[in-house]
Point group: C2
Chain length 335, copies 2
DNA sequence: CTGTTAGCGCTTTCAA
DNA sequence: TTGAAAGCGCTAACAG
């Protein structure tokens, strides 16, 4: 591989001049610039990005941590981030945290040790306090899908409470009063907020939150299966089931159908997230849209603005969920 | 951030010695090593990986290119690669090629310019010839889900022809003779091979390949929808529909049901890939398992062995698909 | 507008 | 077993 030195020799200029044309420094005459460009292409020269990083103290790399690499939710999130960043020549280093505190901390550590210019992370298990400490460090960190007190400027998040409220309100307005709820892992902020919204909608309509109609799932299909099974075993009546994400809704549907339910007549089901597959499961899932791809773009823009000093970027820290009405809920009012 | 120099001063040894303990060089006395380690932890020292890369000409980074970051298929693939590599302190730089030749070439270029030690790429649009040229370059490149003549040692692939054969054979053995087929984009090797297997099974059972029962899809839900719609419009009878991947199968199911079909009684559907969701769509999809996560692990091992010279790793270049029998196909023989 | 000259923080001979 | 010193390829003052 040719180096900058060889280019400078061939072009008959100094190292500094070559460096200037590489970096589009305007203080180079057109003639000189041309000479250098010819020399570069003649040698098939490409700058060594590692050397550039060392000298400039800027790696053009952004570390991303998600809980899992697979899964429709994280896929959309990463796609949004990568597309935005790649357009500006930045690259993403990706790792996983598996929703476990130790692994999340280790993942962040790993990315920092990689000299990333900034981090965009989706942490689920690390507490706010530790996040405050991490944010003190040299590497700027931004948080996806989380709202941390005092760190609002570092967060891009969805109003999950409103989403949970919307979901339950919708079900109630269709005439349901016996409503079961499968939540996600209790320690996850998303679970907590969605549940809070659920309770608010219930209260607003003078409905009680019934522990017997409540199950703690895992945000995966399994959680939906196990949840509905446990709920059914309690022999408490419910005409609608709200799941805190689409994957659990899908699992619950599968289980219900395996056990003789006709959907949605026998049981109405509401999801959350609007993952791509939600419109392809049967019956088509009514759910709450989570604009995670857009949020990924926004997180990337946040980095572009704060770390790379791009101008004229407007940042939106908080996103609103919206209702996606499909076929999985029976309307008891018009029926 | 403390540098190696400060550590050496505090420990009262030379730079070289500190470097040795960082790199676990055995030629350091225990006493000296301890002194250095104490100094390191006292200063909170962590090596600058960029400087290490420049000096050692090894970045410990592997470039990954997939067509899309979202989607269950690529998610599983990346998860396999990342898990394996991360266990050895390597990190992955991920970018996308969007199944377009220009973008794929640009993506590879991008990763090479990032000084990756090796690349693991899933290319769909670049032809074999260009891949041969790319493989001549300085950066070792390995190909996922592809088998290129003369580059077998650089490939990890699935026997797609066998998969296509298995799929069609299964459908035929359940008594179906009027079988429609929705393929993926014609230029993609996966499509071609699966189709070839389909034709082989047909021929083996003295069935004709009928152009009227054939549609070229896009490997997405849309392709399944549009495909079955077009097929139905031709008014040619078919009792079974084979889709070249699960996403198209899912799209076809949704469309069929929207148009009054009872599944699987009115139409049997076969998928391919066994993505996670295939067991949660209704009816549960019979499909061909594509061990893409395992293949991701293997691609990573290939890099570990060839690039990082790990010993005692056995590489398997070719993987076999297997049948996953579920509920989406009606057995006409026993019925 | 162009060139000189120090580094960036680490690895790696080579000698001792 | 340890240290000295020469780079790795580039950027960024500074001087001219």
């Amino acid at each position: 591989m040719a180096t900058i030195y060889e280019v400078s020799k061939l072009a008959g200029v100094s190292l500094a001049t070559v460096s200037r044309v590489i970096n589009n420094n305007p203080r180079v005459s057109d003639k000189t610039r041309q000479k250098v460009e010819i020399a570069m292409s003649e040698l098939g020269y490409r700058p060594n990005s590692i050397a550039q990083s060392l000298a400039s103290n800027c790696t053009n790399s952004i570390g991303i941590m998600v809980s899992e690499l697979h899964g429709p939710f994280f896929g959309q999130m990463m796609a949004g981030i990568e597309a935005e960043l790649r357009a500006f020549g930045k690259h993403v280093i990706i790792t996983t945290g598996h929703s476990e505190q130790d692994k999340e901390k280790e993942g962040i550590d790993f990315l920092i040790s990689r000299n990333c210019d900034a981090l965009i992370v989706h942490v689920e298990a690390i507490c706010d306090e530790d996040l405050h400490k991490l944010t003190q460090g040299d590497t700027p960190i931004y948080y996806m899908s989380r709202s941390i007190e005092g760190l609002e400027e570092h967060c891009i998040h969805l109003n999950n409470e409103l989403g949970g409220y919307l979901a339950t309100k919708t079900v109630i307005e269709q005439g349901h009063t016996d409503i079961a709820y499968i939540t996600g892992p209790e320690f996850k902020p998303d679970s907590q907020d969605r549940l809070a919204g659920h309770k608010r909608a219930l209260a607003e309509h003078n409905l009680n939150f019934d522990k017997d109609l409540y199950y703690i799932g895992d945000f995966k299909e399994t959680g939906g299966r196990d949840g509905i099974k446990a709920l059914l075993a309690k022999k408490v009546n419910f005409s609608a089931l709200i799941c805190a994400n689409d994957e659990m809704a899908s699992g619950a549907m599968t289980y219900a159908r395996e056990h003789g339910f006709i959907l949605p007549q026998d049981l109405s089901i509401m999801g959350f997230d609007n993952i791509i597959f939600s419109r392809h499961i049967y019956p088509k899932l009514t759910t709450i849209d989570n604009p995670v791809n857009e949020m990924g773009h926004m997180a990337a823009k946040l980095v572009l603005k704060n770390v790379y000093k791009h101008k004229n970027i407007t940042i939106k820290h908080s996103f609103e969920p919206s209702l996606i009405l499909r076929d999985s809920i029976t309307n008891l009012v018009t029926a």
